[in-house]
């Protein structure tokens, strides 16, 4: 009896007459709605702001545009921006390589603390990054009286801008190199040493060539940030047109003077630079297979 019952139950299992599609992805209409929503979001928050920089810059015609970016104060701002980057980036490059070398090729206590300390500038608000130098070197700061007595100006002058930029861009190269060099390990360098290469020759001939893409990527990120930094530099700068304004600061000054077209003109240069940075980054990523291992502020 029981056997028959089972037999009957078994025969009631539905026979699948036609192939069933597994729900491995969303139905097409849902997909297109999602794509549309994502693109709309990006349009409003990403694309349009990008586009409007150029439309506003050229709103009064090309002539006004060219005049705005060749005006003496604008040129001075460009020069200061480039100078700042030219000093800050190489210094932080050397730091990044040294730090990455120490951290990835040796074992010692306190490594993760060191890495956290290197990441500090990322978690500090730009305004605070500039402010700490005012507290150190401002008139009422620790070294203020000493500096004033010796006629050295750091705050509200170019040295202050460079210091603030150094602070803010410090981690970039190190952060790129540490995972790359960590992954490569120490075997290659050991092999070079076994072949009697000196320490310096080992670094130059074996390590450097294998980290060149990481270095390039880090330098690009570092330069982009050095050029575009606003908050930290704004605090320490003094906003003296022609003297202590970088390009982002010049944008602010022009904007506050209601000279919108000029402000957007300078802004457009920065935006083009940002675009170039993005293109270089993307190309490097595709070429050397460096993924975005973590979000960078």
């Amino acid at each position: 009896m029981a056997v028959e019952a089972i037999g009957r139950r078994a025969s009631r299992v539905p026979q699948v007459a036609r192939p069933v599609r597994l729900p491995l992805t969303e139905p097409a209409p849902v997909r297109w709605v999602l794509i549309g929503a994502a693109l709309a979001f990006l349009l409003f928050f990403l694309v349009l702001p990008f586009v409007i920089v150029f439309t506003e810059a050229l709103a009064k015609g090309v002539g006004v545009y060219v005049a705005a970016i060749t005006e003496p104060d604008a040129l001075a701002a460009i020069e200061l921006t480039l100078l700042t980057a030219a000093i800050a980036v190489p210094l932080n490059l050397v730091f990044g390589v040294a730090a990455a070398w120490a951290i990835t090729k040796f074992e010692f206590h306190g490594k993760s603390l060191l890495i956290t300390l290197i990441d500090l500038p990322f978690s500090v608000s730009p305004v605070i990054s500039g402010m700490v130098f005012i507290l150190l070197f401002g008139l009422q700061g620790w070294f203020g009286p000493w500096l004033a007595a010796h006629g050295i100006r750091i705050v509200f002058a170019v040295p202050g801008i460079i210091l603030a930029t150094l602070f803010v861009t410090l981690p970039f190269v190190a952060r790129e190199l540490i995972p790359v060099m960590h992954q490569q390990g120490t075997t290659q360098e050991e092999a070079a040493r076994m072949l009697r290469a000196s320490g310096w020759k080992t670094f130059r001939r074996v390590t450097l060539p294998s980290i060149k893409w990481g270095v390039l990527y880090g330098v690009v990120l570092c330069t982009g940030r050095a050029i575009g930094e606003f908050g930290a530099v704004s605090v320490i700068s003094g906003h003296i047109s022609g003297l202590t304004n970088t390009m982002p600061l010049q944008v602010e000054v022009l904007y506050n003077d209601y000279d919108f077209a000029a402000a957007f003109a300078v802004a457009s240069l920065l935006t083009l630079l940002a675009l170039v940075t993005l293109i270089i980054r993307t190309t490097l990523e595709w070429r050397a297979g460096i993924g975005n291992w973590t979000a960078e502020p």
Partner: protein, 357 residues
């Protein structure tokens, strides 16, 4: 160059990796360090290379302690496990590296470097691949480049870390023979590390079997295979069937035989180790006498695998499994099949005291 290792001890954290190692490596010898992972063999190699330092002990090259001698002055070469070829340099530049980084005073002129590199590439039979990059080479080719690169600096001690570990079985055998020939023609003292006992026994003049930071036994391949000093060595070098027995007054009772084990072994429980090819199967009713030990009771055949020249037979005896290796003629003759019962006869058992643990 003759090497003497004395009382070498090293820990990684709380783990003892090298435990008072004593080893003598003869001039021109091809020595294998054989052991499972964690046995300390690679650490010992690295200490010899100069990449690591012990907490205690000495390493003497021709009588001179080299542990404090800088790497550049040690006449040692090391071929890494995964070759560590410089990926951004061509084969030629890889091999030339050791010569090109020499201090200016000692560096040979460019043409001489090129000649020496070419000769080395010919030696390793890769002269056509000088312009290739490591990424374009096969595993066996990379291995030979790594070797050429190391030989370029004319080391007096050549160290090889698992030289064939990353290669296919077929390539492995070919390269083994080739490496042996190379060593014989060059005569450099060579030490290699491996976990593959077949490789060690095939290649080396002597083998040092290591386990948990200690050297269990050093000897020629024949010596350690035929006269293993410890159960570990026996076990590591091949399949082992283990049978309990008792030692009393210098004699072990195995089956129906009393085997002398020497005065030094204490009375008490012991284990007789027998290789599968030393297990002989007898018919139940076979009452003939034998010089070998015949075990009491019956064994039942559980599994027969008759592929290849020999047949593997798995039997259950008392509460354990026994692996026997017999000829196919024997298999047919005894009509061995699943479920068949027979008696076990043991040739050449090695008796070791039973480990209290």
């Amino acid at each position: 160059m003759e090497i003497q290792v004395e009382d070498l001890t090293k820990s990684f954290g709380s783990t003892l990796v090298l435990d008072r190692i004593e080893l003598k490596i003869r001039e021109g010898e091809f020595l294998g360090l054989l052991g499972p992972s964690g046995s300390g063999k690679t650490t010992l190699l690295r200490v010899l290379a100069g990449l690591d330092w012990p907490e205690q002990g000495r390493v003497l090259f021709d009588g001179v302690d080299v542990l404090d001698v800088p790497l550049e002055q040690r006449p040692v070469g090391l071929v890494f496990q995964h070759y560590a070829l410089f990926p951004h340099m061509r084969v030629f530049d890889n091999v030339a590296f050791g010569l090109e980084v020499m201090p200016r005073r000692r560096r040979p002129p460019k043409q001489e470097i090129a000649d020496r590199v070419e000769r080395l590439l010919e030696l390793v039979q890769l002269e056509d691949l000088a312009d290739r990059f490591p990424g374009q080479l096969s595993g066996g080719q990379r291995q030979r480049v790594a070797l050429a690169r190391t030989l370029a600096i004319e080391p007096q001690l050549l160290l090889l870390d698992e030289p064939f570990g990353a290669l296919d079985a077929k390539v492995r055998v070919e390269l083994r023979r080739w490496l042996r020939d190379l060593h014989d023609s060059m005569g450099i003292t060579t030490v290699f590390v491996t976990h593959d006992q077949e490789e060690a026994l095939d290649l080396a003049d002597r083998v040092a079997v290591m386990n948990e930071g200690r050297i269990e036994q050093v000897g020629s391949p024949t010596q350690i295979y035929e006269k293993p000093k410890t159960p570990f060595v026996y076990d590591f070098l091949g399949e082992a069937n283990k049978f309990d027995c008792e030692v009393e007054d210098g004699v072990a009772r195995v089956g129906n035989k009393a085997l002398p084990v020497g005065r030094r072994m204490r009375d008490g429980p012991a284990v007789a180790y027998v290789r599968p090819h030393d297990v002989v199967l007898r018919r139940i009713d076979d009452r003939s006498r034998s010089e070998d030990a015949v075990l009491p009771g019956e064994a039942t055949v559980r599994f027969v695998s008759a592929l290849g020249a020999k047949a593997s037979v798995e039997l259950s005896y008392e509460d354990r499994l026994v692996e026997a290796e017999i000829t196919r003629e024997n298999l047919a003759e005894l009509e061995i099949s699943r479920g068949k019962r027979c008696r076990l006869q043991l040739r050449l058992p090695h008796i070791f005291p039973k480990d209290p643990s």
